[in-house]
Symmetry: C2
């Protein structure tokens, strides 16, 4: 029966979307009730069996996207969200679009490196399944903290990606930040760790957001358990604008001389920049300073951003 369900779904979807038939008519032809057809079609949508693809006649790409694209040399996807909605809904809706954009970038025989945090978590809940072969998901930075809640959180995110793409997942079982740079250097020599590092370097697509200390929902790493007050103060003194996967950078996109990076588990920025596609998802104005800096540093190749933040980015 289970295989039949999928075939039925294909049949129903074809009739509905490709032949413009009503579910009623499809039900009659398939000899089931209309509700069953409705359910088959929902099932098909949820399992990514059908994709809605937008064909913009080039000259009609919304000009915010065009302007962001040309100004920063990236591909931009602007998510229409009115300024009135809550930060949370803005994030959710941006995440939903990001999930679909990701589907166009990631596929068989590829490696996807994912950071973790509020934004990526939201995306992980909205992923549209897509069957791939021989692909892998690798965690981009460690999640261990003094409170130890981060690990299961990160691994849950990761497993959602694995499930959606039918891919093998590789956790990165190290703390987000080390207390001693020496420990990191030592660990980085271990073969188990090097295997992960190597996979990260070979990633075809990296997915991340921008970490920021401000905003209603500050990024995880700026909250208790990861960094202490002294460290946070130091970051501020060094004019840090944001971070990607625990690696900090300044307004001009540079990261040299920021001591904390020596103890961070994420990839240094020059390593990151070697990856082919670097998909950044940024929702909310509090991401702006960090986003500007990341764009300045050329850390991003593809951007999903909400409407309001996009407009402010251009001013």
């Amino acid at each position: 029966m289970a295989e039949n369900r999928l075939e039925d779904a294909v049949r129903a979807v074809r009739m509905h979307y490709l032949q413009d038939m009503t579910m009623e008519a499809i039900a009659r032809e398939m000899g089931v009730s209309r509700s069953t057809v409705s359910r088959l079609i929902s099932f098909a949508r949820e399992s990514g069996l059908i994709e809605f693809r937008l064909h913009l006649p080039d000259e009609h790409v919304p000009n915010i996207e065009q302007r962001i694209g040309t100004q920063f040399g990236i591909t931009a996807h602007v998510v229409p969200v009115p300024d009135t909605v809550s930060e949370l809904e803005r994030l959710e809706r941006t995440a939903m679009v990001a999930a679909r954009v990701l589907n166009n970038l990631f596929g068989s025989d590829m490696v996807l490196a994912v950071a973790w945090g509020n934004t990526v978590e939201a995306i992980s809940r909205r992923l549209v399944p897509k069957t791939t072969h021989n692909s892998q998901i690798v965690q981009l930075n460690g999640a261990g903290s003094t409170e130890a809640t981060g690990i299961s959180y990160a691994s849950e995110i990761l497993s959602r990606f694995g499930k959606a793409y039918g891919a093998r997942i590789e956790q990165f079982l190290v703390p987000a930040f080390f207390d001693y740079a020496d420990t990191k250097r030592a660990l980085w020599r271990e073969r188990s760790v090097r295997r992960i590092l190597d996979l990260q370097r070979r990633a075809d697509v990296a997915l991340f957001s921008i970490g920021s200390s401000t905003g209603d929902v500050p990024s995880h790493v700026y909250r208790a358990g990861y960094l202490n007050k002294a460290e946070l103060r130091t970051l501020k003194q060094q004019d840090v604008a944001g971070d990607i996967a625990t690696v900090f950078f300044r307004r001009d996109g540079s990261s040299t001389g920021i001591e904390l990076n020596e103890r961070a588990s994420g990839p240094n920025l020059s390593t990151l920049k070697r990856l082919r596609r670097r998909l950044c998802v940024a929702a909310g104005n509090h991401k702006l300073p960090g986003l500007r800096a990341a764009l300045e540093g050329g850390l991003i190749t593809d951007l999903v951003i909400d409407d309001g933040t996009a407009r402010r980015l251009l001013t």
Copy 2:
């Protein structure tokens, strides 16, 4: 205003299909009525702004398609249609799918050669617009007859294609069949005609159905005004199974020695076979003998066919 309409449509479509919002909610955000949103979205669908793409997890391609595909070495699209519906509806629904399949084959910088007839006419009415650049549509065979109704019929079909793709169209202003082979040979030397012939030879995609003398709706060329009774009798004697664009062939796909082909306006089969993609659309059992022959002769690379006919094809 006109440009705004398109942008609004894009916005609405994105919210509806990519963010799963109801039209009600979209209307609120855009400050218009729900009906306007509904109309914007219909408009977007009709103008091909949004495409519904089916992702089959490979191993789940309906096995009729798979079997036809491997048995004949082609790509098959089987249109689910119950056996109970009328021939007419079967044709309409097959045509609708064919129009979408064509959109995947044809694009910018390409030449499309179209035959004309009941099937292609139905397709022309269902075309999904798609903007292309520097592409051309060329008529594959002449339409003139002793009754002279065919020309405007064929040119209307052609212009629909041109409109849908924003492409230049080239009519082929010659009769479907010549009375004297000499006339054809003479005309084929004319530069105006050679320009068309050359375009046909350079076509990237050819679109045609199979002509057949049987069935409720026999193909145009088998009806009055094109061939007389003696000619039809001769075809029968020579064991002709069908035709593509006025060029006849036998059960084994061969066409040598069929005298009428010397006087036909369509491309001879070896010329046709040089084209990269040859999309055949066949709806209805009466097309079966001709279709088998065409497949036998390797004249087809892509096939859109209704379910019932597909099943019979495999037996």
